[in-house]
């Protein structure tokens, strides 16, 4: 099976990291993965996006034209990428920054005021972890444990508090995803 995902948002929202953590965890779970960011001056001030592919087979092309999953953290990302979601695919979006939402009915939509929830949790920076949680909750693409291990080994020494916030955000995201 192959899952193709695009994560998109404003420059500072950490969308590249969403893709990276998903790819990294999938890799640890034995999958083939690829991660391809948009790059260059288009990023400046504007929007950033990343294509992530997770597959049991070798990955032919890391370019995702028709995503199975789109994570959109702002409205321009919905406007640009939502039309390309495969019928039956999933759109996860942040209502705090997507006033207009998406009109498609042939896809599953999950939305939450993610920016607000992140602030609630205590740090706007955990927005991307929240999104990861939603993906896990909705799709079981990766296991919570894998990513929790990853984060722990990476942040425990440096910043145990932030680690806690991050894990909290993921868990909260999982809830949203499952609901």
């Amino acid at each position: 099976m192959t899952t193709e995902m695009i994560c998109a948002g404003f420059g500072g929202q950490g969308v590249l990291t969403i893709g990276k953590f998903i790819a990294q965890a999938s890799m640890k779970e034995g999958k083939n993965v690829s991660w391809l960011p948009s790059y260059g001056p288009e990023m400046r001030g504007g929007t950033a996006n990343v294509s992530t592919v997770v597959s049991d087979e070798a990955i032919a092309s890391p370019i995702v034209s028709f995503p199975d999953i789109l994570v959109a953290l702002n409205q321009p990302s919905i406007d640009k990428f939502a039309p390309m979601i495969r019928p039956g695919g999933i759109l996860i979006y942040n209502t705090s920054m997507c006033p207009n939402g998406c009109k498609r009915e042939d896809i599953t939509q999950i939305s939450a005021p993610m920016s607000d929830i992140a602030n609630e949790i205590g740090n706007p920076m955990v927005l991307n972890m929240l999104a990861i949680g939603v993906i896990i909750g909705k799709t079981a693409l990766i296991k919570y444990e894998t990513i929790a291990d990853d984060l722990t080994s990476y942040m425990k020494a440096k910043n145990p508090e932030l680690l806690e916030l991050n894990l909290k955000a993921i868990k909260r995201g999982i809830e949203i995803g499952k609901s």
Binding site: F10, G45, G46, N74, P76
Partner: protein
């Protein structure tokens, strides 16, 4: 009587005009523009002395000053 107009199509909300205005009569709008910036806007325009400092500082040439 003077006043400024900020064109939201150009403004990127950098705040340099706000810092430059001697009369402190520029602020960020609550609205965002198409690029997602809270653009600048004048207020209490009666205080404007048409010193053009806002225009001079604005890197995006978004401001028009009238007198």
């Amino acid at each position: 009587m003077s006043r400024i107009t900020v064109d939201p199509n150009y403004c990127k909300g950098c705040g340099l005009c706000i810092a430059a205005c001697p009369k402190k009569i520029i602020r960020f709008s609550e609205n965002i523009n198409a690029k997602g910036y809270h653009y600048a806007e004048g207020f209490e325009q009666e205080k404007c002395i048409a010193c053009k400092m806002c225009y001079v500082t604005c890197p995006d040439v978004a401001i028009t000053v009238e007198k």
